[in-house]
Symmetry: C2
Subunit: 502 residues, 2 copies
């Protein structure tokens, strides 16, 4: 049976709630909201560089270290955070975590035991190398370790271009030891079913060019984690699982040093979550290849959904809707994942504009997700080794002699209803949709009405083409587009929509 | 022990020789030239759509079908070929093949037995779906089957954009049967060690969008071939091997219907050649991933070199030199291929401008190839499923805030001599090489003299940066580039040069 997993991140609850929710009831309320019939596991994340509870170890700091609860918003801890135009949210996060600690409540203990009551398996998810706000050296989010040791960062030899340049270098023993201290604490402290190591926050763990040496070190590190988890498991008399979040493609994961295939072969992991980083949901992750490489049916393979959706990196972000999230989930489930893993999908007030509950109720199983309209949209993979080029299907151009082609995986072909190929055109090209010739799997598709659901904000004009019955395949389908004459078309968006009910 | 394989294609010998070489001596002369100490197998290709000998089966035609040996160059058979400005070469090809047949000489019989004398293993390589000249319906190269049955082609529903649109559709039983007739003939007729099915001429075998159904059909087809080869093997009392040429990436191969991994698991193939199509040599094929997926040490895994070199598709082609071919070979051998497979590297008069013999003498073994200067250049993969986007590292831009990054696999790191990072700049950007900051694996590299070997014809100005000793890694290495100020740089070329001797 498939199902859903959800990651409750380290800032969401504390930053989005008023202080009066910092109670056992307030904590339970959040979890109750997630407890749909399809929700199998929830992974609670207590840390980025700092931890939301008071650590038992001497190396890590709580998020409120240096906080004066009676002081003004302008206190030193929040210096620089006002430039994010969000000083309230940072303070709320810090204050609420501090407040729970003052009250003697460990929110993770509450959530873990309440999850069990709700028949949901509780995990802790540890961010392994988070660099939110790395451009701001004074940010309240930063750890002493990171601030005091610039020599432990990945890129000490030139200026920072991107946040991950400032991530910790797991090629250095001190970094690995520092990280292990918190891993051990989580395993000892919490009565969890599993510990997930979130290597995708932020996905870059070695000096650029040293990924291959890093890969071997990280496999050794995973062995240390596994050994410790086995000790704890033996003490508790039940297995504590180890999970990892890694890049969506086996080659990218390996070449960034996160060799989940090797880890699976050595028996070091029980859960592998394949996922993009953040910029967009990824709708074409090679699940079959992962399955062939992992070759162990006891490992839970999860497909990670991110909240944003972009057709290519320069496009502004939009949010997924229940239709696009279902599309991604249907494809992943059909390709063989055991779970749909929701990341950044945290409660109805803070994530999707509408329809959030539909995702919780339907996106974890093929039958339920296929019963409602779904959209299979073209996106891209956003995480690659340094220097490894990325591929983008969009934007694309076409004219009478130049073909635009889009390969879209839809999971199972529909057995009822209607299907359409949708194209979104940019304003800098031809917009005469009457002169577009569209084929799906070699079958001509006629221009239909304009789509009633919008495509994406960057699209100037969109057009729908009716896909005849029995034309769609299980799995991949190909849209081909030619113009008839005139100036070239600029295609910014492409998708297949399936409505099983009309 | 590693070594070389070489493909002698279907037109080279016949099109490049005078009629007086159409003798047993002339045939042996060609082969003698290839017989270096490192040459393990030669694969002789007798066909594209037509065959260079008179087929024993009634379905295929000889290349001289319709040829009037006494007629003028303007005879019907060569109509359209004059537009290629190459009517002499086509006629020479046709005439020479005809002439050998007139003399009762089967060139493949001669080559096969002479190869054995030279201690080289003889194979036949069959092009499975060649569409050279598909734009010209009258070309002398086309078969009756292809001309009479447009309904058997991949793309009957719209105009041809690229030659492979006109390739045969192996989704149709008639096409598979037609193809099997020649496979059976080769296996019965020639005393070969193996038969290679060259699925990379041209690499597209199914109706666009029907690749997944095609994949299953092609695996069934490969089973038929294997069964037939086993019958022949039993009769001859020795195993006749089956080889395949397939796209360079496992996912691309699978998604185009050429599921070499599955074929290997079913025991249907003894040789897998991973290769680009033609546009460029491919210098970063994922050999490790293939090895993990194939998981059978009895299968020969060969890395295919093509003759041309391009940094990106819009760049004009250049030819590989012994230095660039050695670079590609060293990387592939280090990554674990059993053979370097030479395609379009046919004799010194017709391929590389100079140094061809060096390739035959050195490119098949790591030690010999590493003893001479080698260049590891950035190129790209040229074969992808329809609608699957491709990735290109070049061209790239950089300035003071924008990083250009190049990931280059060099095989084993050098133990002596000098190494350089080379950048080739375009004329449309900044060309002040003094203001370029270059790091290799995080180590600053100082501007050295201008390279003494050119980079590529599209490069306006090139610069060499000295890589300090002990900085290079085995395997992948990372070049990072930032400008200091001024307008952005346009980088069109990037490589690492290693000279072990100075």
């Amino acid at each position: 049976m498939s199902g859903l997993m959800l990651n409750e991140d380290n800032s969401h609850f504390f930053g989005s709630r008023e202080a009066d929710k910092m109670t056992i009831e307030g904590l339970k309320e959040l979890l109750s909201h997630y407890a749909s019939a399809q929700m199998k596991e929830i992974l609670f994340c207590p840390n980025a560089m700092r931890v939301n509870v008071k650590p038992d170890n001497p190396y890590w700091q709580p998020i409120w270290a240096g906080y004066d609860s009676d002081g003004p918003d302008s206190q030193l801890l929040f210096k620089g955070s006002e430039t994010d135009n969000a000083v309230n949210r940072p303070r709320r996060w810090v204050h609420n975590a501090w407040l729970l600690n003052q009250k003697g409540i460990d929110p993770y203990e509450i959530w873990i035991s309440y999850a069990r009551e709700k028949n949901i398996s509780p995990w802790i998810s540890m961010r392994m190398n988070d660099v939110h706000g790395a451009h701001n050296p004074d940010s309240f989010m930063h750890s002493d370790f990171w601030k005091r040791h610039p020599e432990y960062r990945r890129v000490p030899y030139r200026k920072m271009i991107r946040w991950p340049d400032a991530a910790l270098d797991y090629g250095q023993r001190e970094v690995r030891e520092y990280s292990l201290a918190l891993i051990r604490e989580y395993l000892e402290r919490y009565d969890i079913d599993g510990l997930e190591l979130d290597w995708m926050r932020f996905g870059y763990h070695f000096r650029p060019g040293a990924e291959e040496q890093g890969r071997k070190l990280l496999t050794g590190f995973m062995q240390q984690v596994k050994d410790f988890a086995e000790n704890i498991s033996a003490k508790r008399g039940r297995k504590i699982k180890i999970g990892v979040r890694v890049p969506s493609r086996p080659q990218a994961a390996r070449d960034l040093g996160m060799d989940a295939v090797e880890w699976s072969r050595r028996g070091l992991v029980d859960l592998i979550v394949i996922t993009p980083f953040w910029a967009t949901i990824e709708t074409d992750m090679p699940v079959e290849l992962w399955r062939e490489l992992i070759d162990d049916n006891n490992i839970i393979l999860a497909g990670g959904l991110e909240l944003l959706v972009r057709p290519f990196p320069d496009a502004k972000h939009d949010y997924n809707t229940p239709e696009t999230a279902r599309g991604a989930a249907v494809s992943l489930l059909y390709r063989g994942v055991d779970r749909i893993y929701l990341f950044n999908y945290m409660d109805s007030e803070t994530t999707m504009p509408k329809g959030y509950q539909e995702v919780l109720d339907q996106a974890g199983e093929l039958d339920s997700a296929c019963s409602y309209p779904r959209r299979h949209v073209i996106t891209y993979a956003d995480t690659h080794p340094p220097g490894q080029p990325a591929a983008y299907a969009l934007p694309a151009k076409c004219d009478k002699d130049r073909l635009a082609e889009f390969r879209i995986h839809i999971g199972p072909k529909p057995t009822s209803g209607t299907s359409q190929a949708i194209l979104g055109l940019g304003k800098d090209g031809n917009t005469d949709t009457e002169k577009l010739n569209v084929w799906v799997n070699g079958n001509k598709c006629e221009l239909a009405q304009t789509p009633d659901i919008p495509t994406h904000p960057i699209v100037h004009k969109s057009a729908a083409f009716a896909i005849p019955d029995s034309v769609l395949n299980n799995g991949y389908n190909l849209i081909e587009v030619l113009g008839e004459n005139g100036e070239p078309y600029e295609i910014l968006w492409s998708e297949i929509r399936i409505d099983p009910q009309r």
